[in-house]
Symmetry: C2
């Protein structure tokens, strides 16, 4: 099985590394990072630089494709090489997947039309602009599409998909190996549970990226 993870400038690292850590541990699985242009790809925080060796032409037929989100997503919304590649590989993939605002890129490329999908809570409503039904669930499976909510939700999506791909026992073994028994010190990870002042502060920080309509 080949898994392709797309990187672009301004990606959020945990979006992609969460699923990578899960899927990279599945038996007989190759994970390849892919970018429009091979070379160093720098993340949103500008302090992580990943050397990507594969371009789109090098990965014509992945079984699973993943695109994450991040501030750089806004630069990936116009049709071009990425969208063309996404449409082409989606035609043959077993699963096409996203984390966070990666689903907006899939939606803009046209592959999610008519589907239910999720995204980062601050971006969720924008899916509707592309004919996609926004869902507040943390992980949404619709057809051969698996989308995750913001950033850390990719771990939950990846384990869910691992179960579907290789069975519950193997998925659980990976969960134990990465010791994924979360104990967040606060309950502020979702809009519904975060204190009002925390929601306000997070919205303010994200407001330049997702102006309210």
């Amino acid at each position: 099985m080949q898994v392709a993870i797309v990187l672009y400038p301004g990606f959020t690292s945990l979006d992609v590394i969460g699923p990578y850590e899960v899927w990279g541990r599945l038996p007989d699985t190759e994970v390849v990072f892919v970018a429009e242009r091979p070379g160093l790809v720098v993340n949103d925080l500008r302090s992580l630089s990943v050397n990507v060796v594969a371009g789109f032409g090098d990965v014509p037929n992945p079984d699973v494709v993943l695109i994450g989100g991040g501030p750089g997503q806004t630069e990936q919304m116009s049709d071009g090489n990425l969208h063309e590649w996404l449409r082409r590989v989606d035609g043959a993939s077993a699963w096409t997947t996203s984390v966070c605002t990666g689903s907006l890129i899939l939606a803009a490329a046209g592959v999610l039309t008519g589907r239910r999908a999720t995204s980062h809570w601050a971006a969720l409503e924008h899916l509707a602009e592309f004919g996609v039904t926004p869902s507040k669930e943390r992980v949404v499976i619709d057809g051969h599409y698996a989308t995750a909510a913001g950033v850390s939700a990719g771990i939950d999506m990846a384990l869910t998909l691992a179960g579907l791909l290789v069975g519950d026992d193997v998925a659980q073994t990976v969960q134990l190996i990465i010791e994924y028994a979360p104990e967040p010190p606060y309950h502020a990870g979702a809009l519904e549970s975060a204190p009002a002042r925390v929601v306000e502060s997070a919205m303010e920080k994200l407001s330049t990226r997702f102006p309210s309509r």
Copy 2:
């Protein structure tokens, strides 16, 4: 505030990217990846290559230092440049931290002697060989040391430390921005909750790395 994250060949990516995603979002905080030799550092799965620009000499005085784990940890247990740097920066750091088997490296460098610490469940007992008291907690704070259990536990440690560094409100805002409201599809992330056959399978996979004594 400067946070230094150590990379070495064979590191496990989520160990370091979890805390990076949290701390990189704190106000007035610079995160720098550092390695013995600047250049490309390849992870345990051999498919992620990070371009590290800082060597130990470039980061003489970080406020927070983090070392993660991974199969490459076993090559970092002998005294040398890394251990010397760890001892030096630990002398002035506000916090010295680890994820997974990174605590074994801190222990081998001598900075955890007499402390309580945690590590990956499969490696935990080995801390005692270095005069460190193993703890099964997911996050252990002892003095200015914060250690996390395996791989994904770094996210919980990083949020805990963020609260101590900059206050609960800011830490919670970061938690909401990375939408960390985990919903693992299974309850197999800890020895205590995983099915027996899953524990057996995970132990078998890790047995070459951590031979039982």
